[in-house]
Amino acid sequence: MQHDAVTLWACASARAKAFALVAAVALGVFATLLVAAGKDPLKAYIDTLTYVFGNAYGFSELLVRMIPLMFTAVAAALPARIGLINVGAEGQLYMGAWLATAGALTFSDQPAFVLLPLLTVLGFVGGGVWALIAGVLRAMRLVNETISTLLLNYIAPLIVSYFIFGPWRSPETASYPQSPPFVDAARLPTFFHSRVHLGLLYALAAVALYGFVLTRTRFGLEMRAIGGNPEAARRLGIPIVRYVLIVMFAAGGVAGLAGMAEVAAIQGRLVSELSPGYGFIGFLVSWLAGTSPVGIVTMSFLFALISSVGDILQITQGLPYAVVNILMAVILFVVLGRQNSGSAAR
């Protein structure tokens, strides 16, 4: 329908404007900080842009960074639509990676066409079950899901650590705790001689599917109904408990795919420092994107770009990578400031 196309276009252009404004203000404030630290912000930004857009490698690294962010953003956005707050994508990512690793090590003699679907399913189930714990506790009205998902974040990396220090410790690199490397058949295919891997397609598919389910299916309608007015939804016979369980499982599963992709494509083995906080950045991405699918992709792009700034500052100006946290915080403030105070206070 033409009408739809027009509104879609209007939405997209409004979003692009908002995106540009947020980026400009945030980069401006951050530049002031860099100047105060005696660094040259202009050089840092130009270096970043030439690095990211000047050659294929830089851009491919940007895409690689976007992958886990898109996954974890969907993991936060999906529950948000039924009024649940999932801050546990980080832990779900670790558990997805853990179960995928279990599969890769156990079935290492299988061919790729068996292993890849298997790892995908295991990654999904690992993260999904982890989130489902919080879902069940919530459905039974025992523990608020925000608390439980947050706390589960602390447990998951410890489980991973136990396995790589213990049962799965690689004999070859005994000095360093990590699992043995995955067989080649268990590695996600990469494209264009870069580290860009199949996970990019998974992630884009996850975002697209998320958007489709929400806007085009009756499940999405019922989810939006629960998020919009749980009491009315209950009175209309919408099975809220079932939705809480399914949505938490699906959200955790998507975060688990991020973990699966990290071990099966980037690391090639299970390591302890799998994620530099992808789960938390993903939550931020989802929140800033207003849980819209297009917003999730653009905001993931922005945050991937920011991590590149961190790399560049580290390499060229000797600043610690952690300074990008300042930039992320500035962006958060800018976005908060743009929203009217009424909705932010809610």
Binding site: T217, E222, N229, L236
Partner: protein, 511 residues
């Protein structure tokens, strides 16, 4: 009282919201030692007038006098400084603070170091005199609604209020609590306060007001002293020249015997908790083609009875049968799927998702009726809903509008159109005409009768006795969660049914 100027007087007040005239009040006054009932239908302008007196709205024209002197009230702060206090429908206590802190916070010129003991002393003093005892150390969030109201009144009294405006104070109270409130109001009157009691309930003004001002469509329709006041003349003032509804033809009594059982409650009891009224040993049999009316003062278990039938509340003891099947443990979805429709009293809170469009709201709760693959067949839904709106005689709203942008009455129409679209076999209507204009009210009542004539069973829960008398085949009175009495049409008279609604029947029988 004749020589003394009124405590508070308003002359020539006018207030418009856009093109809508909300208030055009030539004269309004309240005297020392008087309870003034401000009576009128929903939307008659009572709250607007009160909010003008309290400085919440600025009138477009008019003068306000306190003790005979003209004053300018630009904000609630000004009003409080002049000794005018108001208790809103939604309380304004800070949940985390104690009762004492809430009261202290409201005092004029509170010193930097809060004089707790002095405030406590005064609180005890007022509490004893006016039956307003509340534990001063209790956090406001733990208070029952009735106690919250007491605190609201206390804090106004301590702040020096001489005129107290109460906006629909009994709406949130159980009947016993209302009696307590009226007792308090009586004590305050004898202390010389002027009290403005806003309500749409005739009973309340007849019970405790010295004078009754009746508002209609923003204007003062008349002022009646309590001696002259009667239900009839107040009703005439409230509704004015509204055309008398054509009496619906008498019900066809024979139909009863033909219908088979649609709903059967057998000795059902439910647990209370969370402010719910527990039901005790409720037995009701409702047949197809029959309307059973449930009468009672709000808060005597009507909502719980509705929830019980709809599957939102499960019987603790006893059984619920729908079409002779044990439905005690059915989910809401199962109950709706079986052909039960619900018309709730507060569509915005209980039946609509404000953030979704009208079309999306119409699709909710329709079971599998419009499933089309993963999505919904919107065209078929539109067609069905167009038909339903037409059949009900409601104007068709814009289906793409956000439901939250519709007025309360229009939203109720959307819910009715959705619920009655598929010829439900059992309709649970909870105050279905609350908030509707006169024309839509007639339409809804006709529709409910029509549904009944076509074989649906109707459970009509209402506070409006006229409505109940008009369309019920039988009437059941609920009082404190128990069936107090049951009536057949030949006994449908307010004076027969009324005593059972307030639990006064035992006395009547004894006499």
């Amino acid at each position: 009282m004749d020589s003394e100027p009124p405590l508070l007087e308003a002359r020539g007040i006018a207030k418009r919201f856009g093109a809508v005239v909300a208030n055009e009040v030539m004269h309004f006054s309240v005297h020392r030692g008087e309870v003034l009932g401000l009576l009128g239908e929903n939307g008659a302008g009572k709250s607007t007038l009160a909010k003008i007196l309290y400085g919440y709205y600025t009138p477009d024209a008019g003068e306000i006098f306190v003790d005979g002197k003209p004053v300018a009230i630009a904000s609630p702060r000004d009003a409080r400084a002049l000794g005018i206090g108001m208790v809103f429908q939604n309380f304004t206590l800070i949940p985390a603070l104690s009762v004492l802190d809430n009261v202290a916070l409201f005092q004029k010129n509170l010193p930097a170091i809060v004089p707790r003991d002095a405030i406590l002393d005064r609180m005890h003093h007022y509490a004893k005199r006016f039956h307003l005892a509340v534990d001063p150390w209790m956090p406001a969030r733990q208070l029952a609604v009735g106690d919250q109201q007491k605190v609201e009144i206390l804090k106004q009294l301590l702040a020096g209020a001489r005129v107290l405006i109460l906006d629909e104070p009994t709406k949130v109270l159980a009947p016993q609590e209302s009696e307590g409130l009226f007792k308090t109001l009586g004590e305050l009157r004898s202390e010389g306060l002027g009290i403005i009691l806003i309500t749409h309930k005739l009973r309340e003004v007849l019970a405790c007001a010295d004078r009754i001002c009746v508002m209609r469509q923003g204007r003062m329709a008349g002022v009646v002293g309590w001696r002259e006041a009667s239900e009839d003349n107040l009703l005439a003032l409230m509704f004015g020249d509204k055309p008398i509804q054509p009496a619906l033809p008498p019900l066809d009594a024979k139909r009863h015997d033909r219908g088979h059982s649609a709903l059967q409650l057998i000795d059902v009891s439910t647990s209370g908790g969370n402010g719910a009224t527990p039901l005790h040993d409720i037995s009701i049999k409702l047949r197809s083609g029959e309307t059973v009316g449930i009468a009672g003062v709000s808060g005597n278990g009507q909502r719980e009875l509705g929830d019980l039938v709809l599957g939102l509340l499960r019987p603790q003891r006893g059984a619920k049968l729908l079409w002779d099947e044990d439905a005690s443990r059915w989910s809401v979805a199962q109950v709706r799927e079986a052909g039960v429709a619900a018309v709730p009293d507060d569509p915005l809170a209980h039946a609509c998702i404000p953030g979704l469009t009208v079309r999306e709201n119409l699709a909710l709760g329709s079971g599998g009726r419009y499933h089309d693959g993963l999505g919904l067949d919107w065209q078929r839904l539109d067609a069905d809903m167009n038909k339903s709106f037409a059949r009900l005689g409601f104007p068709r709203p814009n289906f793409d509008a956000r439901a939250g942008n519709l007025s309360g009455g229009n939203l109720q129409r959307v819910v009715l159109a959705r619920e009655l679209a598929h010829h439900p076999k059992l309709i649970v209507a909870l105050y279905p005409t609350r908030g509707l204009d006169a024309r839509s009210t007639v339409m809804v009542r006709e529709q409910l009768r029509d549904m009944r004539d076509r074989g649906a069973a109707v459970l009509l829960i209402s506070e409006d006795l006229d409505e109940l008398f008009e369309i019920s085949d039988r009437l059941i009175v609920l009082f404190r969660g128990v069936i107090a009495a049951e009536f057949l049409p030949e006994n449908f008279r307010a004076e027969t049914v009324g005593p059972f609604m307030v639990g006064a029947a035992e006395h009547a029988n004894a006499a």
